[in-house]
């Protein structure tokens, strides 16, 4: 069941990649749409099969692979991974749909996108550290090629930067995983074999720190973020949607699954610092976004700020904040996708992304009124206006984190105010103002080009008005994760200046739900 999500796109990639050259770009695109559509349909089917009230792993699959290495093909899905899988399937479809119809070298392009889809699904499904790592690294090369072939003018620089950063991230994560296995002496890389292992708190903190930096590059957290603006800006629209909407979520997923899930005690120690880190990221991303003159770059920086909320929710690790953080991952994915989609359309039709050049696109006759209206919705959803998905996710994070870290939470709330500042700048310059009639001969925006944005807007509104559909999948899982964290107030237990190297008391690692036979 679950393997389909991995192998269907990879198989599709193989088919599309080796198609004979007689097919036109449009036909290849149709093929890719069909495959990603099938994956999406299968994901929806899986969601109907998924039991949201069960906090453990479901629909598991197991196939022995290299047992001497402790590497087995072991899949499962719980509430945390399910919503991210759904996001991945949806955004891949949206990304394919947002691609230019007459794209150059279509077979390679769509094959790489499908490969990414399969790889990301594998990472979310994997129940084995090494398997996760393989899938995690699988993204790297397709993304590198997608940026360096179909990117903007500085694509070579951006792609290389992305490659190096992500490779570093992978190396750190691998180091963390290997360290974990070697130090605990676990029998395999399977998540469940780590259950009940004990490790001194100091070592836990070090391993967690390594993983945090590794995944922090992917999220990204300030100051590990500088690959992001260049990469997002140089990447073409569909690639930017995947990078921001899905790939960044691998980072937060990793932090939650392996950081909070495997090192709850060390997490407790580092939580106040993580919350500060989150607040810094939020404020830094928002303030840097205000100064941007390129709308795509502005959206890219906004992404840094918004991922900070996820970290804040994770750091507080209350039931509410964690379910809020997972919701925020989904909401951020949807909102970032629509923003990149619309920015891409504006760039394609108007020919520029410069704030100082753009003006008056809301003009009903000669501008892009529908695109502008959608942009208003997307920007306001991102700024956290209620009624849309972003608000309720952020609100749950704030309310959940406030009890643990009031000051950091309030700083993040201030960050949403700054978010409003740069989005108002963006809207005022782009949509409002006087359209210069001399240059306003924009190509018509076809309905099919608007369709992804319409779908995303519908979802953003639906999840904003009916947030139950956003939280119901992951709530039992996140509750269980919080329950695994030792009781006691975070603030009470952890002083800010507690030395990392505490006496080697042996603390049991998190109990991970064991496999049903």
């Amino acid at each position: 069941m679950l393997s389909v999500l991995i192998w269907l796109p990879i198989l599709g990639a193989a088919i599309i990649g080796f198609l004979p050259g007689i097919f036109s770009a449009k036909q290849v695109r149709t093929g890719a749409l069909a495959i990603t559509g099938a994956v999406l349909a299968w994901t929806i089917f899986l969601m109907t099969q998924f039991d949201p009230s069960n906090s453990g792993l479901q629909l598991q699959e197991y196939l022995p692979w290299i047992e001497t290495l402790g590497l087995n093909y072991q899949l499962g899905v719980d509430g945390l991974s399910l919503v991210l899988l759904a996001l991945n399937s949806l955004l891949t479809w949206i990304a394919v749909f947002s691609s230019k119809v007459e794209i150059e070298r279509p077979r390679l392009f769509y094959a790489l996108i499908l490969l990414i889809s399969g790889g990301v699904a594998g990472a979310f499904l994997a129940q084995n550290l090494l398997l996760f790592f393989l899938f995690y690294e699988l993204e790297l090369v397709p993304f590198y090629l997608l940026i360096s072939i179909w990117g903007g003018s500085k694509r070579g620089y951006a792609a290389t930067k992305f490659l190096i950063y992500t490779a570093t991230s992978g190396a750190l994560i691998l180091a963390g995983f290997l360290g974990l296995i070697l130090l605990t002496g676990a029998s395999s890389f399977a998540y469940e074999s780590l259950a009940g292992q004990a490790l001194p708190l100091g070592l836990q903190v070090i391993l967690l720190g390594v993983l945090l930096v590794g995944f922090g590059i992917k999220i990204p957290l300030v100051p590990l973020h500088t690959w992001l603006p260049d990469t997002y800006v140089e990447a073409s629209t569909p690639v930017a949607i995947l990078l921001g909407g899905v790939l960044a979520k691998l980072g937060t997923y990793g932090i939650f699954r392996f950081g909070l899930g495997l090192f709850p005690d060390a997490w407790r120690v580092l939580a106040p610092w993580l919350a500060i880190w989150a607040a810094v990221s939020v404020l830094y991303g928002a303030i840097a976004a205000i100064a941007q003159k390129d709308i795509k770059r502005m959206v890219a920086y906004s992404s840094i700020g918004h991922m900070g909320y996820v970290l804040l929710g994770g750091a507080a690790a209350t039931e509410l904040s964690l379910v809020g953080a997972v919701s925020q991952m989904v909401a951020h994915g949807l909102i970032l996708a629509i923003l990149f989609n619309l920015v891409g359309i504006i760039e394609a039709k108007v020919g520029t992304r410069e704030l100082d050049v753009l003006n008056g696109l809301m003009n009903p006759i000669r501008g892009l009124p529908t695109i502008s209206s959608l942009l208003v919705v997307g920007a306001m959803a991102s700024a956290g206006i209620p009624g849309m998905a972003g608000f309720i996710a952020e609100f749950l994070v704030f309310q959940g984190s406030f009890v643990a870290f009031p000051l950091q939470t309030l700083l993040c709330v201030a960050g949403t105010g700054l978010t409003a500042v740069y989005f108002v700048i963006l809207l005022n310059r782009t949509c409002f103002g006087k359209l210069d009639n001399a240059i306003a001969y924009f190509p018509k925006v076809e309905f099919s080009e608007k369709l992804p944005a319409f779908i995303l807007v519908a979802l953003i509104f639906f999840l904003g008005v009916q947030p139950t559909w956003l939280v119901r999948w992951s709530e039992p899982t996140t509750n269980a994760m919080v329950a695994a964290v030792p009781a006691g107030s975070v603030l009470g237990r952890v002083g800010g200046d507690r030395p990392i190297a505490t006496p080697p008391e042996l603390i049991p690692m998190a109990t991970i739900p064991t496999l049903e036979p």
């Binding site: 290389t160 830094y284 206006i385 959940g400 105010g417 409002f432 006087k434 947030p467």
Partner: protein
């Protein structure tokens, strides 16, 4: 029975305009080309009328009945239960009547006012959003959902003020309105977040119960209360968050009718609902009175120095909301609500009548108008009714509200009563001044030709004048007027005298024209008031300026320090984009093929154990 049913289904009322809004969104430019923009407006007029009738009919079922509560489940997550509580009582249904009624008249007015505009669909959709939001705010009995509505209305303000979006002043006005209100909203959000761990509920009713017995650290209580006040401060345009209302005057006038009368009152409504919680902190109560007093005096003074008629009225709105702040600060919530009601009707009428002048004299500059009394008798009379309804002059509405307020303040805070009298006198002076500049004196070029407007403008204005005139009767029939026997007659006389003083002084200067204009007061003082205490400039050089500078510094640091360090380390310079040019298509495909081949080989090697396990027949 029927009325009872209508009262039970009062939550339909916000839904009608919402339906109207969704319908008018369907009027895309392409549809407008076929039908013209008008049907979008008519749809909304009908929906608003339905909402109004529903509320009116439901009112009789709630009058003299205890409040009923309904609960709509919305979200239940972790230990947080977000159920929407609705309160159906005479006060809330009365609020619905006020909102839908003024909305109906404003939308009707807009039919004439925006006759030539193509943006009807957008305009009416936004008016409907406001109507739905305000109705929802009145019905919902929870701080959290009030916050949601206020925040959505902030977005609505942005879009509505920015309606004529190709004018630069409109764009900056919309921006400032949005950001100022957002600042207030965010403080409110902080208050909302902080209140829940203390009280465990956001339901206003339960909050009231909790506040009676709550033991909260005074410092915490003060901080929370101040944060909660900040939201209404933004909405009610109180100092120092008052600037947006002035700039919002760039928006279309029919929306100003709503904004100046009921939209600003949303803040007052939340404040009144929060009164028991705010009472936990004496500091917050004093702060409210101080903010209200400063705004009331400052607002009326600034209003007198404005030459733009819309601005002259908008600062009075701030001032009256300041009085509401004083009332809530002094825990006179009934007086506060009464003042909101009387102010809403009178101010809506004032805006309608000045709009009627502005529309066909094509100027809102008071110095260019004059001598219109004989040409615009209906508009003139409406203005007079509105002006008298606004200040404390019996028998019209605001007199009773101010009397109630002054009466309640007299025993505890006599100084505030003095402030109230000053504000009333200044307001009386201000409205008389506007009246004199528009209707008295010599006709000028802009007011030479000025007939009464289309019936779609004049009619709603006259109906509004009728409501303003009848308000005391309505109040009496609802027994909201004080008993003659226990009336504080000294206070009443003081209020009346202050009104008469203001009117006469204004009359002497601006109607009788005993003094040549512009009145020669000390120039720096006049500029100080005319430019709103230089608040825009202060903002620009402090908050706006510092955010701008900080963002530039961070951006610079990001490019040259954080990123520069990375580049310096040499990762990028070694493999830099300049050296690896992937423009050559053949090479890249070669790379891709190499990588694909490598992946296949590695996979096969790693999977060798499985492949051998699979025991192909060939292998055997």
């Amino acid at each position: 029975m029927m009325f009872q049913f209508l009262a039970q289904t009062a939550w339909f009322v916000p839904c009608y305009p919402l339906v109207g809004m969704l319908l008018s969104i369907a009027w895309f430019p392409s549809v407008i080309r076929r039908t013209g923009p008008r049907p979008a407006g008519y749809v909304n007029l009908i929906m608003t009328l339905v909402a109004f009738l529903h509320a009116v009919l439901a009112f009789s079922a709630t009058w003299n009945q205890p409040a009923q509560y309904q609960y709509i489940p919305w979200l239940q997550v972790a230990n947080l239960d977000l159920t929407i509580p609705l309160e159906i009582s005479a006060i809330t249904i009365g609020g619905l009547i006020l909102v839908t009624g003024i909305n109906f008249l404003a939308q009707w007015y807009a039919v004439g006012y925006l006759e030539m505009d193509w943006g009807w669909a957008r305009f009416y959709a936004l008016l409907a959003l406001f109507e739905a939001g305000m109705c929802a705010l009145i019905l919902c009995n929870s701080l959290f959902f009030s916050y949601i509505v206020l925040e959505i209305l902030t977005l609505g303000t942005y879009l509505l003020v920015g309606f004529w979006l190709n004018q630069p002043l409109v764009v900056t006005g919309a921006r400032d309105a949005f950001l100022t209100k957002r600042v207030g909203d965010l403080f409110l959000l902080m208050g909302v977040l902080a209140l829940y761990p203390l009280a465990g509920t956001w339901d206003f009713y339960e909050l009231g119960l909790w506040a009676q017995t709550a033991q909260v650290d005074p410092k915490v209580a003060t901080l929370v209360a101040l944060a909660l006040i900040a939201g209404p401060m933004g909405k009610c345009a109180q100092f120092p968050l008052h600037l947006w209302l002035d700039e919002a005057m760039e928006g279309p006038l029919p929306s100003t009718i709503l904004r100046n009368s009921v939209v600003v009152a949303t803040g007052a409504w939340v404040l009144v609902k929060l009164a028991p919680v705010l009472a936990l902190s004496p500091v917050a109560l004093t702060a409210m009175i101080a903010i209200g007093a400063v705004t009331a005096i400052g607002g009326t003074l600034i209003a007198i120095a404005q030459i733009d008629v819309k601005r002259a009225l908008s600062y009075l709105v701030s001032a009256y909301m300041g009085l509401v702040f004083i009332a809530v600060g002094a825990q006179q919530t009934e007086a506060a609500l009464l003042l909101v009601l009387t102010h809403a009707l009178a101010m809506a009428l004032l805006v309608m009548s000045t709009g009627s002048i502005v529309l066909n004299n094509i100027t809102q500059d008071l110095t260019q108008l004059g001598g219109l009394w004989s040409r615009r008798p209906i508009t003139g009379l409406s203005f007079v009714v509105g002006a008298l309804g606004l200040i404390a002059l019996p028998p019209l509405g605001s007199f009773w509200a101010m009397l109630k307020l002054a009466d309640g303040l007299w025993a505890t805070r006599p100084v505030v009563v003095a402030i109230l009298l000053v504000v009333n006198a200044l307001s009386a002076f201000g409205v008389t001044r506007v009246f004199g500049l528009i209707f008295a004196g010599k006709r000028q070029q802009m007011s030479e030709r000025s007939p009464e407007n289309l019936w779609t403008i004049t009619m709603p204005m006259m109906i509004m004048a009728g409501f303003t005139l009848h308000l005391p009767l309505i109040l009496q029939s609802l027994s909201l007027l004080p008993n003659w026997a226990i009336l504080n007659k000294d206070m009443a006389l003081l209020l009346i005298w202050s009104s008469i003083f203001g009117i006469s002084l204004g009359g002497i200067i601006y109607i009788g024209q005993a003094i040549s204009r512009p009145v020669g007061i000390w120039q720096p003082l006049r500029d100080l008031l005319a430019y709103d205490f230089y608040t825009p400039r202060i903002y620009r050089s402090t908050i706006v300026g510092s955010v701008d500078v900080v963002s530039r510094i961070v951006d610079w640091g990001d490019r040259y320090i954080v990123d520069g360090l990375v580049n310096f380390i040499g990762f990028a310079s070694i493999f830099g984009g300049e050296t690896l040019k992937y423009g050559n298509s053949g090479r890249t495909q070669f790379y891709a093929l190499t990588i694909a081949a490598g992946v296949v080989i590695i996979t096969v090697l790693m999977s060798w154990s499985i492949l051998t396990h699979l025991s192909f027949p060939i292998a055997q």
